[in-house]
Symmetry: C2
Subunit: 234 residues, 2 copies
Amino acid sequence: MAEGNPNSKTRQHILDVAKILLSETNKDALSVAVLCERAHIAPSTFYYYFTSFADCLAEADRQRYEDLVGAFEERIAAIERALDRGDPQLFYATVREQMTAAWSAGRADARYSLIRTFINIFDNKSQAARFRSQLDAQFDRWLAAAELAHRRGWTVDGATGEMVVLMFWAASVGQFILPVATRRTMAPTAVATFFMEILTGAVGPESSGEPESEPEVQRATPSAVATARAGEES
Amino acid sequence: MAEGNPNSKTRQHILDVAKILLSETNKDALSVAVLCERAHIAPSTFYYYFTSFADCLAEADRQRYEDLVGAFEERIAAIERALDRGDPQLFYATVREQMTAAWSAGRADARYSLIRTFINIFDNKSQAARFRSQLDAQFDRWLAAAELAHRRGWTVDGATGEMVVLMFWAASVGQFILPVATRRTMAPTAVATFFMEILTGAVGPESSGEPESEPEVQRATPSAVATARAGEES
């Protein structure tokens, strides 16, 4: 039961490698040997820090879960700060930035890392219940933010704004289904532009006039998307 | 090795129950005992039809995969038939119908069935490669259909049409992340209306005037979504 210093850098390095392996493949395919090879450590080093492989994987899973929840939390908190300041330019810039970051997280990895993390969480009953309620609470904050922005005249009709928010999040998680060949057209900034246009009504009849500092969104025609895409491809 | 008649109804019943169990939970949690109890059969019946539990699960997985590919195939084929007839009303009605069906398939199940099927497929290398290429080929057909409809003046700018198609599919798969509490606002018909409005430009400045037979889409304001949602809730 000899567990080395839990704050050790080596220990966290082992956990980081375990997190990468968990994002790439099924647990069944993993072993202490595979982990040690990838982490460039000896099995004796592994057993200095962990009592069992199962313990190590469980802790790595927990960390991936916390990383995911933390990232979601930071995103909505940034939007709320922008709303607090009552500054539409900052609000648009922040929403765009968070959308781009969220989309990047969903596509970052060709091996379905994000989706695998979700499945692992949902397979653990106590984690699943806690995660579900944290996720739902964050969606409530997103929807409240969309509603508040609408009341200030910064975004389209509240019902449409709600739909855009939910669709963006669902798509950012489900994007792994999209064809490899069209990945370029799904560049994070192009996707953010597309959703920003719907959210701000730039493609709608009641344009709320997003400020000049956001030129891509300001264009009142769908061709802004084409322009943004062309920019991505260069 | 005594395998009963492969066309037997009992054999398919066992496979159907196995497919349900696979959609609900991890393989690790399944056993012949669990399967027999759920299927209301004796273990001896199971072993009359299958040589092993692993064989049964592998066949059930294969069937789920074929069901999924077949459903995708039928959807794009229906859209292509509507385009072939050169009838915009039929085209709009078919796209809406297929969107509603696709969204229903993604949400049908609270236990992440669809997403679990994807992960199982992607974990099997040979299945994953075949599935990926089938999926990519079907997306090519969707994008070609969107482009053709655009050239006929039935839908918005081709680039936006492409983005709407891809976003709809990504969201339909990723919708499992959405909060339980807002599921009602995400009713399949409301979601289809939302995407149809973007696709036909009903929320845009260049409305292509979807025919009268599609009243929900025809409204030129985002509040059509609110109306559709209110309808869902009754």
